[in-house]
Structure formats: C-alpha cells, structure tokens
C-alpha cells in the first residue's frame, strides 16, 4: 500500500511541468565562450618564477587574467561600456595591479591571484594624462597620477592620497608625462607645443616643488609620443624633422644637447616618425641606459647611452617588433624578424651588449588567414642553468592572441575578435560524401539504362560500405572506455546530423575577421581575416546558396559598407570551408543604398542579390543572362523601399524592365518632431502554420499575415519627459500604405522591436512611471479572409483590426528576438537578453492583446491567460542557467530539422549557444524512453494474436465437425 502511494506521489512529481535544465544536461546541448576583447595593456606576473598568469586590460573595458598554460580565463572583471569604464592605465607591482579607470575617475587596485579588489578610490575630476609607480629606497610604495591640472600621489597599500598639488601654469603648459626613478622626486613633464618643455620636480615626501625649469624646444609638440627617459634621468626626445635626438639631464639645469642621427650612422625612413622604446624594470630604480629606436616600419636600432654619449649596439633590419623583458637582474630584448613568407623568428638579445643569446630562437608561424603581428609581450624566466628562457604572447591585427613557447610550439590561441560579433548566419552542413553521391545521381543527366543501373548499384554499394564501417566503429568504440572516445569535429568530417541540429555558425566580427564555428561544440573550424576593412564598417551577410544544391557549393556574400563614403565591397565565400569563392563579385563604383535578396535563382541555384546605388540604378549579382531575363519578366512585381532617416523619408520604388527604378510612393516623417530609430521587417525564412486563431465560440479570427509589412519605430526629438513619445508605424513596404499609426506617450527609447507573424512586440522606457514596459500589437483580418488563396499587398483594401496591450517588465533589456522553427507549428517564445547576463525565454502567450481583463467562459475556452499588468520573470525561464552572457548585443535564432527545436546563439562579449524547445520536445522520445517495454508489449501482443487466431481456427473447425 505504502509503495503504491509512493508511486502515486512520484507520478505527480513527474507530471508537474519542469522547464529548466536538469543537472546532467548542463553543457550537453549548450556551450559558452568568454572573451575579453582587444588587448590594450598586458603584464606577465613575473614576481614568482612559476607563475602562470598574465593580466590583460582591454579596449572593451575588461580586466582579466589568463592562465598562460591553457589560455583560459582565471578571472575577469567587466566594467561599464563606453568612456566611463575605459581603462586608461595598468601598472603592476608584485601581486597588485593598479588601474586608472574612466578618464582618471577611479583608481583601483586588484589582487591578481584571485582577482579580488584591494581598494578603490575616486579621484578628483580632471582629464587623465599619465600615471606611474613611485619607488623610494628600493621599495615601491606610491602611485603618481598626473591629470590636466594636478598631480597626486597615493599609497599603494590603501589608495589614500598622500598629497595633491596643482601644476604650475597648467593653462598654458600641457603636462603629459610623469616620471620617477626612486630618488625621492617625481617629475611632471609638460610641453608648450613648439615652444618649450616644462619640468616640475616634486618631493615625494610632501609634494613640495623642488625645482621648476623650462627648456627651449621649438620642435616638440608632444612629449608622450616623442620622448622617453633613459638611464639616470636623461630625457631623450626624437625630432623627426631634423633627424636628431635631443637629450636633457633632468637632474641638472642644462640646455638640451642635440645628437644628429647621421653622426651615429643612422637614417630615418622617409615619412616615418621615429619611436623610442625604453624600459624601466624596477620603478624604484632609473631606467636602463639601453633603448630601441625605430627608424622605419621594419627597422630598429638598439642604442646605449654611455656617459652622455650614444653608441649603437646593434641594428635590426628587417624586424617587425621589439620588446624588452626582465627576469631577476637580467634584461633581454626580444626581436621579431621575418624568416620567410609564412613564418617569423624571434630571438633574444642581451640588452647590455646587444649580443644574441644562444638557443633562444623561436619560430612563429604566420597565419595566412590572420592579420600581421601587432604587439609582442614577452615573459622571460631564468632556467635552472641561469640562462634566460622565454615565452611570447603575440597580438595580431585581427585581435588574435597567440602564446608561443620555444622552439615554436603554439600553446594556445585566443580569437578575441569574437568579442565583437556584428552579424551572423547559421548554415546547414553539407551531406556526407555518400549521401552526396546518392543525391548527385539524380542531378546528372540520364545516359542510358545500363549505366544508370550500374551507377545505382555502385552508390548502393558505397552506402552499404559506409553502414558497415559505421557499425564497426560503433562496436569498436563500445569496447573502449567512454572518455577515450573522442568526437573531434574537423572540417573534413563535417556532415549534417539526422535532425539538422548541428550547423555552421558564420560569424562576422567588427575587426573584419570571419569565423566558421561548429554549433555543437563551439570549435572554430575556419577563420578568414579580411584586410582593408575600414573601421566602423557596416556588414550585411546573406546566404545566396544553401547546401541543398549539390554539387554547387554553398555561397555566402558579405557586403562591407564604409560608413563615411558609402562605398561597398562584396566578399563571396563558401560558408562551410571559409574559402573565397571563384565567383568574382562585381565592382561597385557607386555607394550602395539598399540590398535585397530575391527569391529568384540563377541556373546555378544562387539567389539573386539586387544592389541599389545612389543613382537608384539596380545591379544584380550574379548578373548572368538567365538572371537578367528573369528579372525583366519579374520586374513589375519587384518593389523595394529606401529609408533616409536623416530626412525621415521612406520611399518605395518599383523595378523597371531596363533595371532602372521609379519612385511610386513616399512617406515623410518630419525630423523636427520625431526621428526614425529602427525599421523591422519580417524574416524571410519564417513560416506561419496557422492562418487564424480559433475563438471560444469555435469561429476563427484570421491573422493579418502581410509579408511586406514594416514596423517603423520613431522617437520624439523632444526629450522632455512629459512630451517625449515613442511612435510606431506599420507600413506596407510595397504600397507605402500606413496600416497603423500609434504613439506611446511619455515614453522614450532605447526601443527594442520584434516583428513576426501578425504581431509586433516592442519595449520602451516609460518616463511617467519610470519603468520598462512591453507593448504588443496584433493584426487580424477579422472573421473572414479577403482573399484566402494568395496575399497581395496591392489587393487588400480593408485595413486590419489592430489590438494592442501593454505590460510592465521588471528589468531593462539589452536585446530582443523571437524563436523560429522549421514549420511554425511550435508556439513562439521571445528571447530577451538582460543586462544581468541572463537570457529569458518568455512565452509569447503572455504578450497577447486578447488577454481578457474579465475572465469569461469563452476566454477560458480559448486558453487565454487573464490580464495582469506585470510580466513576472520566472527563474526557470532563464535558458542559460548560470552561464552568464556578458553584454549581450544580439541573439540569433535558427530553425533546426526538428520542429520542436530552435537553435539560439547569444553574442556579446561572450558567445552562448543553446537549443530551446518552446512547446517542449513533442516530437522527440525521451532519453529514458523504455524501448524494451514497448517492444516486448508489441511482441507479446503479436504472439497473443497469433495464438488466439490459431485457437479460434481450431475452435471453428471443431464446431464445424460437430
């Protein structure tokens, strides 16, 4: 009895809906990759010989530590975006890293082992110039921060301010550098451009001005760019126009002495601004007397200052990069020089005499799909025999970090370009070779009965072979312990799985590097760096041909538009292998205003991409005769729209047969009142399964499914909280007809919009109630369809019914997207990226303008949830459980081969991939499905029927005999 009750209770527990992820499902269908962004400052933890850490401060306002053995993040701190969290300076001393953040707003000290905050203080306002550690008697106790008008000294132990002093004549002198070499003085170095250098020496003890000198330097405009301190306080500046070095002893009151580079036998490359590189291994001691002078893009000279004279130690030509590194008492110089086209070699040289150290060559292979090396960070260490060993972290133009060990073993690579994904697509993987063979059989022209039979037989044989091979592998793998079985994904064994759940994620990053990532594991399968991508370019990725057209390879086209000139270039590539296509894209001499992918295909099954230039002329890609002919036939039914948000103008055009265009409609939203912030159409690959909704009384309310509908969101020009508003217009993109026009008063952006099926959901900030609100608009044709066979924008005279409802949302949001499935049967969810790093899967059911305020029998029949003004965030709706995705910027959804399953990729600083099942896995058997039970029942039934049939026969026979 007790057991029966227990079973009953268990049943109840099982039946109650559990939507979250089970513990054993963690990481099974999802993965996350964390990035830091382009590195700005980096320091190796050199205090302990066996240290495995490198600290990084990046342009994405991230401060992190990496494990140098694996390249994994040890810890990471993500600060605010924008200038507020900008990391201005990073200084490291022992176990502490001191950061100046937000243009000198904050001074922070971190403990680098565990990434804990030691202290943080708010600095006085003023724009940050420079900072340095200040030592005295071999110990470093202070940090000096130089701002536009003040110099302050802080204790390293707790951040407290020791003193703060105004800089003399700060209105004329531009102070740019602060320097200290451990003799009890802090120097602030400033310049009056093209006039003189101002040097102020402060006492470390009390901030008293010890000395203030100004030295004539009419050739100098920027101290930070041209000057450095070498040896025992010798300020050395380089003057490119006179090709000379100027030196000034900071401790003595003297004039600058000029040393012509020519007298040293050196020559500056034409048009190159020489750069000085010095090193100060210990802030409590003066910098080394040796320094590098870069004379050209590929030439460096190691120089030494010896009692006021400069001597050349060694000339490095060609050399890409140089870097100093110190371990113990030894300082070495690492020089990267080209070896051949595909590799570079790095060598160590003694800083003291410029001699090459033995056995220190390191080969660094250049990635042909990557950028050139840009920076080099060297970690030097003493080996057991007191020789210097080293490892190098190379940063390249495409933001890649490569960590290399002698003699050239790559320990890890981090693709930091992925911290800034701009756009992406998910492409189906190709069929396996055997499947493709079978497919190819149908594609080929028939050539005789016999050969066809043979071909069929051969392909069947190949299939059989593959099956046997598969069985053998299964059997073989089953004997091995589980962890030995590696399912490594490489570009060779890529193939579509049964349910098309594994896809190729083609990601485009802001740096111009393209990636192909396997969606199942997150492995980077290919990468391609596009050089000459202008900064701030706009990208648009279109899939022209999918993998469905074997033997034609799939084809993607990336439009890269320069923001300033508007000129566009095309990059055509194979999304599976990342290789540049043989198809030559057309040269586009005119700026491109609009691009549209037509459902038309050329004879090679590539969809036609139309490009509209600023003369409103249209060019097609590919532009074969076949395509042009098709375009001529279709021209009168090809419409497109252009938006000029600076003038608030939306205009519609129709294509003419000669590929010119004509303006057919115009809507102008005056920019004095409101400006267009976003325009959302529907996704072309979206399917809607159900044409209407069944009401409580069994009648049908038909949806208004206009594929050409655009949702235009505007924000008021007036920002006053009483008068600001958010406008939403629904415009037909073909006829320019305004279907619906509404304003949300006392609201402002940022507005996030999703437009799909017959609904538009948008989110805004309500200035009146000071909260985030969601609003949903649904469009219905009414109880009967106007023309149920086909939808045409030109023939829909009746305006749809518009229903709208709003809700309170308890959090601000970063991005908004809707799930997408193969056939559109599955109910829809909204995927909401929250600033907290969570990704919420909110059922669209909750955003339904038909939610009744008063529950009636009919609404209950329809399964409508009674209206509640607040949408509640339920924790089980988070699809990324504890896998926080920092700074979500976009969510990409793609259908899989299973109707119930939608693939989701959230990208921002991190990348997170998972699957969602908005209506549960209704088309998938559970993992623990009892095959044994069902088959035994089936067999038992089968035999029972057989036996009973036999028995019945016998009985009938017997009766007949009677």
């Amino acid at each position: 009895m007790a057991k029966a009750i227990l079973l009953f209770l268990k049943l109840i527990a099982v039946c109650s809906i559990v939507e979250g992820v089970y513990e054993d499902q963690v990481g099974k269908f999802d993965w996350r990759q964390q990035y830091v962004g382009k590195v700005r400052f980096s320091h190796f933890d050199s205090q302990v010989q066996s240290s495995k850490k490198v600290v990084l401060a990046t342009e994405n306002n991230v401060f992190a530590a990496l494990n140098t053995r694996t390249g994994d993040l040890s810890w990471r701190h993500v600060d605010k975006t924008g200038p507020e969290g900008n990391i201005d300076a990073l200084m490291q001393h022992g176990q502490d890293a001191v950061l100046v953040v937000g243009n000198g707003r904050l001074l922070r000290s971190w403990e680098i082992n565990i990434g804990g905050l030691n202290w943080e203080i708010v600095l006085d306002s003023g724009s940050f110039q420079s900072a340095c550690l200040v030592g005295q008697q071999e110990t470093v106790k202070h940090v000096a921060v130089l701002k536009k008008t003040v110099l302050s000294l802080h204790y390293l132990s707790n951040g407290h301010q020791k003193w703060i002093e105004n800089l003399p004549e700060s209105d004329t002198v531009d102070y740019q550098m602060v320097y200290s070499d451990g003799n009890g003085q802090v120097y602030a170095l400033g310049v009056v451009p093209h006039s003189h250098i101002a040097i102020v020496a402060y006492s470390t003890e009390d901030g008293e001005i010890i000395k203030q000198i100004s030295v004539e330097a009419p050739w100098l405009s920027n101290v930070q760019e041209s000057c450095t301190v070498i040896g025992k306080g010798m300020l050395t500046c380089v003057d490119p126009s006179a090709a000379s070095l100027h030196m000034l002893d900071l401790h003595a009151d003297s004039e600058m002495t000029q040393v012509l580079l020519q007298s040293l036998g050196l020559e500056v490359a034409t048009g190159f601004h020489p750069v000085l590189v010095s090193t100060q291994p210990n802030p409590a001691r003066p910098p080394l007397a040796e320094f590098f002078l870069q004379l050209g893009p590929e030439q460096f000279v190691l120089l030494q200052l010896n009692s006021g004279h400069i001597a050349t130690l060694r000339d490095f030509k060609p050399a890409f990069l140089v870097s100093f590194a110190t371990t113990g008492e030894k300082t070495v110089a690492a020089v990267m020089s080209p070896k051949n086209k595909t590799a570079c070699s790095i060598n160590l040289f003694s800083a003291e005499n410029g001699r090459r150290l033995l056995d220190t060559t390191l080969n660094f292979a250049l990635d042909s799909n990557g950028g050139k090396p840009e920076k080099m960070y060297v970690q030097a260490f003493l080996k057991k025999d007191d020789a210097v060993g080293y490892r190098v972290m190379v940063q390249s133009e495409d933001h890649t970090l490569t960590f290399v060990q002698q003699p050239g073993r790559v320990m890890w690579i981090r693709e930091e370009a992925l911290s800034d994904v701009v756009t992406m697509e998910m492409v189906d993987l190709p069929l396996t070779g055997t499947q493709a063979e079978l497919e190819g059989e149908f594609g080929k022209k028939a050539d005789g009965l016999m050969s066809m039979v043979l071909k069929r037989l051969s392909s069947q044989f190949i299939l059989l072979q593959a099956w046997v091979g598969h069985l053998w592998k299964l059997f073989y793998d089953a004997r091995k312990p589980r962890r030995d079985v590696k399912n490594e994904v490489t570009i060779e064994n890529l193939s579509r799985d049964e349910f098309n759940l594994q896809k190729m994620m083609v990601m485009v990053t802001a740096s111009g590097k393209l990636f192909g990532i396997d969606s199942k594991t997150g492995t980077i399968l290919w990468k391609h760096y596009l050089e000459n991508v202008p900064p701030g370019a706009v990208f648009k990725l279109v899939v022209q041909r999918t993998t469905a057209h074997f033997p034609h390879p799939p084809q993607c086209t990336l439009l890269i538009k320069d923001k300033e000139s508007g000129l566009t270039t095309l990059h055509v590539f194979n999304p599976i292998f990342g290789k540049k296509s043989h198809v030559t894209p057309p040269a586009l001499p005119q700026p491109i205003l609009q691009s549209l992918l037509l459902p038309l295909m050329d004879q090679d099954y590539a969809k036609v991409l139309l490009l509209v230039d600023d003369q409103y002329k249209v060019s097609a890609f590919p532009s074969t005769k076949n395509v042009l002919q098709q375009l001529q036939e279709m021209a009168s039914s090809i419409f497109f729209y252009l938006v000029d948000s600076s003038q608030g103008r939306l205009s519609g055009y129709r294509l003419r047969t000669d590929l010119s265009t004509e303006l057919i409609w115009e809507v102008v939203i005056p920019t004095e009142v409101q400006r267009i912030v976003s325009i959302k159409g529907k996704r072309p690959n979206e399917h809607v399964h159900s044409q209407g909704r069944v009401m409580g009384d069994r009648s049908v309310l038909y949806k208004y499914l206009n594929p050409n509908l655009l949702a235009v969101v505007t924000e008021s020009a007036d920002n006053h909280q009483e008068r600001s508003f958010v406008g939403i217009l629904l415009i037909d993109g073909v006829t320019g007809r305004i279907i619906h026009e509404a304003v949300q008063r006392k609201a402002k952006g940022p507005v996030h919009v999703v437009h799909s099926e017959n609904w538009v959901v948008y989110e805004y900030w309500s200035t009146k109630s000071r909260r985030n609100e969601f609003s949903v608009i649904e469009l219905y044709e009414g109880m009967e369809l106007y023309n149920s066979t086909v939808f045409s924008s030109l023939d829909r005279p009746h305006a749809p019914q518009v229903l709208q409802q709003s809700y309170i949302f308890p959090s601000s949001i970063s991005t908004l997207e809707a799930t997408l499935t193969e056939k559109g049967i599955t109910s829809r969810h909204l995927l909401i990226g929250l600033p907290s790093g969570g990704i919420l899967s909110l059922p669209k059911m909750f955003l339904d303008p038909r939610r009744p305020e008063i529950v009636t029998e009919q609404s209950r029949e329809e399964n409508l949830i009674p209206y509640a003004p607040e949408l509640i965030i339920r924790t089980e709706w988070f699809i990324n459980y504890n896998q926080t995705v920092s700074r979500v910027r976009g969510i990409h959804t793609a259908p899989s081969g299973l109707e119930s399953t939608c693939l989701v990729v959230a990208y921002g600083l991190d990348i997170y991939q998972t699957r969602v099942y908005p209506s549960k896995q209704f088309d998938v058997l559970k993992d623990d499905y009892d095959y044994m039970l069902i088959s035994s029942v089936l067999f038992a039934l089968f035999f029972a029927t057989m036996i009973s049939k036999r028995l019945a026969e016998v009985k009938l026979l017997n009766r007949a005999w009677r």
């Binding site: 007790a2 129709r654 809507v667 005056p670 007809r737 305004i738 609100e773 829909r796 709003s806 209206y867």
Partner: protein
C-alpha cells in the same frame, strides 16, 4: 496658390447646390459628416493631384482639392473634378498596359498658424486596372503625426482586385463613370495603451470582496483540508511502521 483657394470656394458652393461638375465628399475619421459643418469649415486647403501615363513618367494634373482640419477632431473634405473623356480613355490604356494610377498631396503642417507648406510631396499609388475595375471608387486616407504634419497618404480601391474576366471588363470600360466615388479620411496617430494597473487592482479588490462575502471560503485551513492532513498522517504512520528493507541506505532512483 490661386487654384486651391478657388476650389475651396467651389466646395462651399457645391455643398449647397450639388452641381454635377463637382462631387463633394466629407469624412471625419472615416465617417461622413453632415454637410452643415461645411459652413464653418475652416481648414487647410490642399490640391490633390493625380497622374496616369502609359510610359509611367509622372505628369501631374489636378484631381481635386482637399480641405483638411487637424486637431481634436480631425476632419477632411474633398471636392473633385470630373474625369474628362480623354482622361478616361487614357486611364483605360494605362490599365491595359499595367501602369499605375498615382496621387500626391503636398507636405504640410495642418496645425501651424498658416498652413506652412514644406518642400516635397507625399505620393501613393494604386494599379490603374484596379481603378478602372472599381469604377473609380476609392478610399483615400491621409495620415498626420502628433504635431499635425501630414506624413503619408494612401489610396486603395474597392474592390481592390485586378484582372477579372475579360468580357465584363469590356462592359465596365464602356460605362466608366466620370466621377470619382471617394471615401476620404484623415487619421491622426492613436494613443497606444499603457499597462492597465488600475483596472487590474479593481478586479483584484472585487475578487477579494467576493471571497470575503462567500461564507464557504471563510473556513479555516484545518476545516478545509482535514481529510488531506488525516490521510497524510496515516500514510506517514504506515510508512514508519513498515520495516525498512535490509541495507536500506540505497536510494531508489
């Protein structure tokens, strides 16, 4: 600017006499207003132009004149010229060629003191064949933004279909009317609803009141669920008294 003004006076006249040349249509958010309103109808007068050409190069000519008034109760009225014989034949030709029938109105701010015309026009189109087949009956909608700027115009014909059976088309073409049968409306943006907290709270209150009134719901927790508690207690006792199986440390999965 002489022309539109002349039309405005015409509009007033025809309201009284309903002459054959002009055909007044008044709209107020889609519904027709009584013609008495016309006497104090002081709005902005705009020319409504149309164009239908076989070569689809726009050549605008006057179709009529609009009188618009924005504000709390936006209203619009229209007086239209009749379509001349040559225009009708041209429209048929355009329809046969698959051309477009377009209309345009100037951009204007209806709420400014003087109707300040801004550079440019708002245009819309409908297929010429639809215009022919609907026998010149169309619906023109003018949209304004919150500040009374005219932002868009749209035209649809009723019915909107095009390319019916050939014969009837011929017949229709023969007896094509001279007058437009237009429904005009001026639409200002709607105010989107915010979250309905007040109503919801009211409903909650009502429900709680209902509950408090209903004596059945007033029963205490034990009174309501005594049988469940009793059942639970018996079950607990039963499971306690049952001997735990040997080596019972192992949990059932």
């Amino acid at each position: 600017m002489a022309r539109p003004q002349a039309f405005a006076t015409f509009a007033a006249l025809c309201a009284v006499f309903a002459t054959k040349g002009l055909q007044p249509v008044h709209g107020n958010l889609g519904r027709k207003v009584s013609e008495v309103v016309d006497s104090d109808f002081s709005g902005v007068s705009l020319p409504l132009q149309h164009s239908f050409e076989v070569d689809d190069v726009a050549r605008w000519s006057g179709r009529g004149s609009l009188v618009l008034r924005a504000g709390r109760e936006p209203a619009a009225s229209l007086s239209q010229n009749q379509l001349s014989e040559s225009d009708r034949t041209r429209l048929k030709e355009v329809a046969a060629a698959g051309g477009l029938y377009r209309i345009r109105v100037p951009r204007v701010n209806l709420q400014a003191e003087r109707a300040s015309e801004v550079e440019g026009h708002l245009t819309a189109f409908v297929r010429a064949c639809a215009m022919v087949e609907s026998r010149l009956s169309d619906v023109i909608t003018l949209h304004t933004d919150v500040s009374g700027f005219l932002i868009g115009v749209s035209i649809v014909t009723l019915p909107g279909s095009c390319g019916g059976s050939g014969e009837s088309q011929e017949e229709e073409l023969e007896e094509q009317p001279e007058l437009f049968n237009t429904t005009l409306s001026l639409v200002a943006p709607l105010s989107a609803p915010g979250p309905e907290t007040a109503l919801f709270l009211e409903r909650l209150e009502m429900e709680s009141e209902k509950k408090s009134k209903n004596p059945q719901e007033q029963k205490s927790f034990f009174a309501k669920y005594w049988y469940l508690i009793l059942g639970g207690a018996i079950f607990l006792m039963a499971s306690n008294s049952a001997q735990p199986p040997a080596g019972g440390g192992r949990e059932q999965s």
